[in-house]
């Protein structure tokens, strides 16, 4: 897979179409969400119609925390400790006022924690549900986050949050939307995807992965064999939520902002549609489908029919290829 990533990048350079890298970078983040969701839906059999909520929780948390001005609290002990670790950033804002921001590394940590808390919090009551009830409950979660994002001034209401700083790394490299860092961003984003895929493939082949497949295959039998199905479903839900949140964090820093549209129902449905195309229990298929479909969508390939395409995809997939289009390699 690494080879194909490099090959694509070299190809864009050679054809002078390096601007395509931008959409490929964004497609990487969205595909990350898809892959996490694929694990949840395909291996544990839990449908989530509100997964965009976790993407947004990650994105909004990092946006808020990295843009809030903590100057008034400059002398508080926690801030002093963080400052000594180099995790705060002083500076001036466009109006010349002095500001003090948290480093995005802190907000990344906070975003992951926040999404984990929410995932466990709603997972415990909701994952007991089955079928339509679970679908509606997750849909409800997605709608709640959308409404909260849309209606809360602190979160930027309808305009969302912008001016989110780049995500800094060593040697002056940073994750942001500038051309200077585009190459770095491309390799960084796809490296993260690669790492996550590695972890997930490990998981699928492990004892826990087998337990998850058993739960999906026949939950009653799995329980009779000593598998604590509730615990596994909960942890997997949280894992897929955290993956989505991490994608949200990096996407937000890359594009410099986030808006309520990222948590809309349509986004969640899209993720489900892509998982359906890629194959419910096939993370590689989900990745490929996610990359292609997101890339096309981001390039505006579908025009005003963008949402309709995904709706049609859902129907076509279910009627003709309920197990996905990308064939799974026999393991």
């Amino acid at each position: 897979m690494a080879a194909s990533i490099i090959a694509i990048q070299v190809a864009t350079t050679m054809t002078g179409s390096e601007f395509l890298l931008t959409q490929l970078i964004m497609a990487a983040w969205y595909s990350l969400v898809v892959v996490g969701l694929c694990l949840l839906m395909g291996y544990a059999g839990q449908i989530s119609l509100g997964h965009a909520a976790f993407f947004a929780i990650g994105g909004y948390t990092t946006a808020v925390l990295s843009t809030v001005n903590l100057l008034p609290l400059k002398n508080a002990l926690p801030l002093k400790m963080l400052a000594s670790l180099g995790l705060t950033k002083g500076g001036t804002d466009p109006w010349g006022c002095e500001v003090l921001h948290l480093s995005p590394w802190i907000s990344l940590l906070a975003a992951v924690t926040a999404s984990a808390i929410v995932a466990y919090g709603i997972g415990i009551p909701i994952l007991r549900l089955k079928g339509h009830y679970l679908a509606m409950a997750t849909l409800g979660v997605g709608i709640i986050t959308y409404r909260i994002a849309l209606g809360t001034p602190l979160l930027g209401a309808a305009d969302g949050l912008s001016d989110v700083p780049p995500f800094p790394f060593f040697a002056g490299l940073a994750l942001d939307g500038t051309r200077a860092h585009r190459l770095f961003s491309y390799y960084f984003s796809w490296s993260i995807v690669l790492i996550v895929m590695l972890l997930l493939v490990n998981l699928i082949g492990s004892q826990a992965g087998r337990a998850l497949r058993a739960i999906h295959g026949n939950e009653a039998a799995a329980q009779a064999m000593g598998v604590d199905t509730a615990r596994y479903k909960l942890h997997l839900f949280a894992l897929s939520a955290i993956i989505a949140a991490i994608a949200g964090v990096f996407m937000t820093h890359y594009s410099g902002g986030i808006g309520p549209a990222e948590t809309s129902v349509m986004k969640s449905v899209r993720y489900v549609a892509i998982v359906a195309v890629g194959g419910m229990a096939n993370v590689w298929g989900a990745l490929i489908a996610g990359t292609i479909l997101n890339f096309l969508s981001l390039r505006g390939f579908f025009g005003t029919y963008d949402d309709a395409v995904f709706g049609a995809v859902l129907i076509v997939m279910m009627l003709f290829a309920p197990n996905g289009m990308v064939m799974r390699k026999k393991s």
């Binding site: 972890l199 492990s206 009779a224 942890h235």
Partner: protein, 253 residues
């Protein structure tokens, strides 16, 4: 001390009293049978003991001095009770070996975190589970089916796999739910021999069954149910000649 003690077990579904105040004991190293006409409550009783029906409407279940009437089925499995299902519940889309490896699941923690990072210790545990599963398949005589897709097997083979899977839990008590259903006469005889061998190796067996020949041949004690209540308990001969049992089965005078 009996291995399993059931006291005044009751379970109602709304207005339907499936099991009413049933009490019995299962002694270690015996084969105990539960019989009764359709609708007698055998399956409900069975599922109550196995943990898939909760909460109970009344009564207690104590296994090896451990009260299990409020335990969920996965906890009960960890305590040492394994079960098979009347309608075979093998895991589809998994091989026979993988099915039996699930039976070995309780041997280690198997957390998601350890699964993601393929540490040497995790891989060692995985190898030992795989070997243990192969052993179970060998004991059951179906080691050659290890790589087959569980759904492609014949009915009799599927039953063997399910049994091997249950035995991988190394249970003290094995619950068999109508193990003879769908088997030929010859296969039923072999099943009877197998159950006898299990008992001789130290496993206690509780079996729900319709097939009278199997029950009468292998069981040490029988419990007869009708309409949710116990109507007879004792050795197969005692139960067979019990007037109430005869009345319920044959509708005699």
């Amino acid at each position: 001390m009996a291995l399993l003690e059931v006291k005044n077990l009751s379970k109602s579904f709304g207005g339907l009293h499936a099991v009413r105040e049933v009490s019995f004991c299962v002694e270690r190293g015996t084969i105990h049978g539960i019989i009764g006409p359709n609708g007698a409550g055998k399956t409900t009783l069975f599922n109550c003991i196995a943990g898939s029906i909760r909460p109970l409407s009344g009564g207690t279940i104590v296994f090896d001095n451990q009260p299990i009437h409020s335990c969920a089925s996965h906890e009960i499995a960890r305590y040492g009770i394994a079960r098979t299902f009347q309608t075979i519940k093998l895991f589809p889309r998994m091989t026979v070996l993988e099915n039996v490896m699930i039976g070995c699941h309780t041997r280690s923690r198997g957390s998601i975190l350890s699964g993601m990072f393929s540490l040497p210790s995790t891989r060692a545990v995985e190898r030992s589970i795989r070997n243990a599963a192969m052993e179970e398949l060998a004991i059951a005589g179906i080691a050659d089916l290890a790589a087959s897709d569980a759904q492609q097997l014949s009915f009799g083979q599927q039953r063997s796999v399910e049994l091997a899977r249950a035995l991988s839990l190394k249970p003290q008590l094995l619950l068999l739910d109508e193990p003879a259903s769908g088997l030929t006469m010859h296969e039923i005889d072999r099943m009877g021999e197998l159950i006898g061998r299990l008992r001789n190796s130290g496993i206690t067996v509780l079996i729900v069954e319709h097939d009278m020949s199997l029950i009468m041949t292998i069981c040490d004690r029988l419990l007869a149910l009708s309409s949710g209540r116990t109507i007879a308990e004792g050795t197969p001969h005692e139960v067979q000649t019990h007037p109430e049992v005869i009345r319920v089965y044959l509708g005699g005078r």
